[in-house]
């Protein structure tokens, strides 16, 4: 193994970790506001990727432009889903039943995509698909760089939104203590809906980023949901910074392990880390009071 391969893998890991971080942030956001494990998150990711692909094949425009449509659409869908479906569930069995409900939604999306576009693998043809930049002997594909940039900008925007705005404060208050937030006059139901919308918007961005450089097919979401769920448990359920840090770490670890172990075995790192976390530190590494009970 040469130094350049190591550097190459490190860069690939960081680029992939950025995408994981954005998506895991969305997943942990749902958990924070609603105590819901949103199985359909990655199904929406693939849906967004399909929309980007469809947009490009129909119009011939760059897939990034599809974000103008998909982000607001997904935000609205997330808000609607929380208000119309998840808030109907009984609080006592919410965790379990929400898993099943979002699982059902994932199946509907997968089946619908398969029905409309068939099970064939799809890939966007771009003029710059095989273009790359050189950096100290390593090569970085332009499409991967664009995808990473998209994820980084969105994650930063999400961070600023949560830290610097009144809405962000209200959202964080809802996550930390719902009843107390209500006493302060925060409309926690609406805030929870918006939180869901934001989470789904990350799936829209992530899906477009994914579609730039990967093949997509309807059942692909199962390959994403496993690592993402592992990331949010390891980071501590409900903690967005925790999810982001765990995502970067695991993304890089996975890429480096691929050198000696091959792609398949390297993926198991997510699950081993998940089991180890639950055995020795069930609340995760950045989770607070909230994570201990779930």
């Amino acid at each position: 193994m040469s130094g350049s391969l190591l550097l190459q893998s490190l860069i690939l890991g960081l680029l992939l970790g950025g995408l994981y971080a954005l998506l895991a942030a969305g997943l942990t956001l749902y958990f924070g506001v609603m105590r819901v494990v949103m199985i359909a998150h990655s199904a929406f990711l693939i849906l967004a990727a399909y929309l980007a692909w469809f947009f490009t094949t129909q119009t011939g425009l760059d897939p990034l432009l599809s974000l103008i449509i998909t982000v607001p659409l997904f935000f609205a869908a997330g808000y609607g889903m929380q208000r119309a479906l998840l808030s109907r569930l009984r609080p006592a069995t919410l965790t379990m039943m929400s898993v099943l409900l979002t699982f059902a939604i994932a199946l509907i999306i997968e089946g619908g995509l398969g029905y409309l576009f068939s099970g064939t693998q799809r890939r966007i043809q771009l003029g710059y698909s095989s273009a790359s930049l050189e950096l100290w002997g390593a090569r970085i594909a332009v499409v991967k760089l664009v995808a990473f940039g998209l994820a980084a900008v969105s994650l930063l925007a999400l961070y600023l939104l949560l830290k610097k705005t009144r809405f962000g404060q209200a959202l964080r208050a809802t996550i930390q203590h719902r009843e107390a937030a209500q006493l302060l006059g925060i409309d926690t139901d609406r805030i929870a809906g918006f939180g869901f919308g934001l989470g789904l918007a990350t799936a829209a961005v992530g899906g477009t980023a994914l579609a730039l450089d990967a093949t997509i097919y309807p059942s692909l979401h199962w390959h994403w949901i496993g690592p993402l769920m592992a990331i949010i448990v390891i980071g501590g359920l409900g903690s967005i910074p925790g999810a982001a840090v765990a995502a970067m770490l695991l993304g890089v670890t996975q890429a480096l392990l691929q050198i000696p172990m091959g792609t398949t075995w390297a993926q198991t790192v997510f699950y081993l880390a998940l089991f180890a976390t639950l055995m020795f530190r069930p609340q995760g590494f950045f989770g607070g009071r909230l994570a201990q009970r779930f």
Partner: protein, 413 residues
């Protein structure tokens, strides 16, 4: 007192419901079978299960077009033994469990006269097992992997020129015949974890290793891999003289794009299946320079059967048939030859075993040339090698069929 009624009644209704379900299960399933029971004296019913949805749906549909065209052709020309051929097709959703249930149904409920095979090695093995258990002949268009022939099936015949290991046979011979100084010295292999795809790459690998060409990378990826950047990075890092991909379609495209992103320039690049597909050049942005692929079929082959097939198919569909269509047509031809020779096509085990015996002992003229089989059902011919030259894919090996010179080393992509 009244309150006790509710739970009892609910228990009872539950029980009745279950009983009713059990009875209707048997009767309705039987009813839908009995209604369409086929195979009278005036027609021969052929049962097929194909992956029309799911992972293998694209090649599955190609096979379907091939079978349908063949049946139409046979019926236009007086049928088989003077009887019309009718195809009974079921969709197995690319699932091994479904495929077994489908053949079970075709044989028992539809009582078809003959069965022919589905697509992909993974589905061929469970299907062949069912056919064998009921004594049926099983000719199949798509199970080329070595494993298929190691299961001891006596009823199985693969209707194509060569098994997966032998797809690159001519290429291996050509490389090893080069002078020592020009020959590639190192090779990198990447293959999908799929019996067929892996068979093609490893067939070449074994032959080249024996000839002294060193293996410097050997990567295997699961069927649904979409991110090839790390595999490509490892291959590029070895700077191997040649790269071989044991690919189906999309994975081959992705791997080539990932290698191009890393600006890796081998002297020889061979990939199975993907480069022969019509959309291939567009999918990799027309950077096809010198890519090699084996093929079992070409529309240009000058066997009379083939010219008739291409003419008939083009009239029907307005485009030339591909390899999947040709394989299905070949399967039809093989079964038809056996049926004509022993003059029977019935579910009866005697008839089926006569068909099986005949195929073991005889050679059949098909669109891919004359085919014969060893005792395990392996066909005994070879694949041709094609190469992309100036934006077109052309046959380069064997030399007597070649449309262009073999280009080595390949130009940069």
């Amino acid at each position: 007192m009244r309150f006790t009624k509710t739970p009892t009644a609910s228990k009872r209704s539950r029980a009745t419901l279950a009983a009713a379900a059990a009875v209707t299960l048997a009767s309705t399933l039987a009813a839908c079978g009995a209604a369409e029971e086929g195979g009278g004296d005036d027609e021969i019913v052929i049962g097929i299960s194909l992956p029309l949805t799911g992972d293998f749906s694209e090649p599955g549909k190609g096979i379907q077009r091939g079978y349908e065209a063949w049946a139409e052709y046979v019926n236009d020309n007086g049928g088989l033994l003077g009887r019309d051929v009718r195809l009974e097709m079921l969709d197995d959703q690319s699932s091994a469990e479904r495929v077994a249930a489908d053949y079970e149904k075709l044989i028992n409920q539809e009582q078809v006269d003959l069965v022919v095979g589905p697509f992909s090695t993974r589905l061929v093995i469970p299907a062949a097992q069912v056919a064998q258990d009921y004594g049926y002949l099983f000719v199949e268009p798509a199970g080329a992997a070595p494993e298929v022939f190691e299961e001891g099936f006596e009823n199985l015949f693969y209707a194509a020129p060569a098994v997966a290991d032998d797809h690159y046979k001519l290429l291996a011979e050509h490389i090893l015949a080069m002078p020592e100084s020009e020959r590639p010295k190192t090779a990198a292999y990447a293959s999908m974890d799929d019996p067929f795809a892996q068979g093609t790459a490893y067939g070449l690998k074994d032959a080249l290793e024996e000839g002294g060409i060193k293996t410097v990378a050997d990567e295997v990826y699961p069927p649904n891999t979409t991110d090839f950047s790390s595999i490509a990075a490892k291959i590029a890092d070895t700077k191997a003289d040649m790269v071989v991909g044991g690919s189906q379609y999309q994975d081959g495209v992705n791997l080539i794009v990932a290698l191009q992103q890393l600006d890796y320039q081998p002297k020889l690049a061979a990939f199975s299946t993907a480069p022969t597909e019509t959309e291939f050049a567009e999918a990799i942005g027309d950077k096809t320079q010198g890519i090699i692929a084996p093929t079992g079929y070409t529309t240009k082959a000058d066997y009379p059967e083939n010219q008739e097939f291409v003419k008939f198919y083009e009239e029907k569909h307005g485009e030339a048939p591909g390899e999947d269509e040709a394989n299905a047509w070949t399967t039809g031809q093989v079964v038809a030859a056996a049926v004509e020779a022993v003059e029977c096509a019935e579910p009866d085990p005697d008839c089926q075993s006569k068909l099986i015996d005949w195929l073991h002992e005889n050679e059949v003229e098909t669109v891919v040339g004359p085919l014969s089989w060893d005792d395990k059902g392996r066909p005994q011919s070879a694949h041709m090698i094609q190469q992309w030259v100036d934006g077109e894919i052309k046959i380069v090996l064997p030399e007597d069929q070649a449309e262009a010179e073999f280009v080595y080393p390949k130009p940069a992509w």
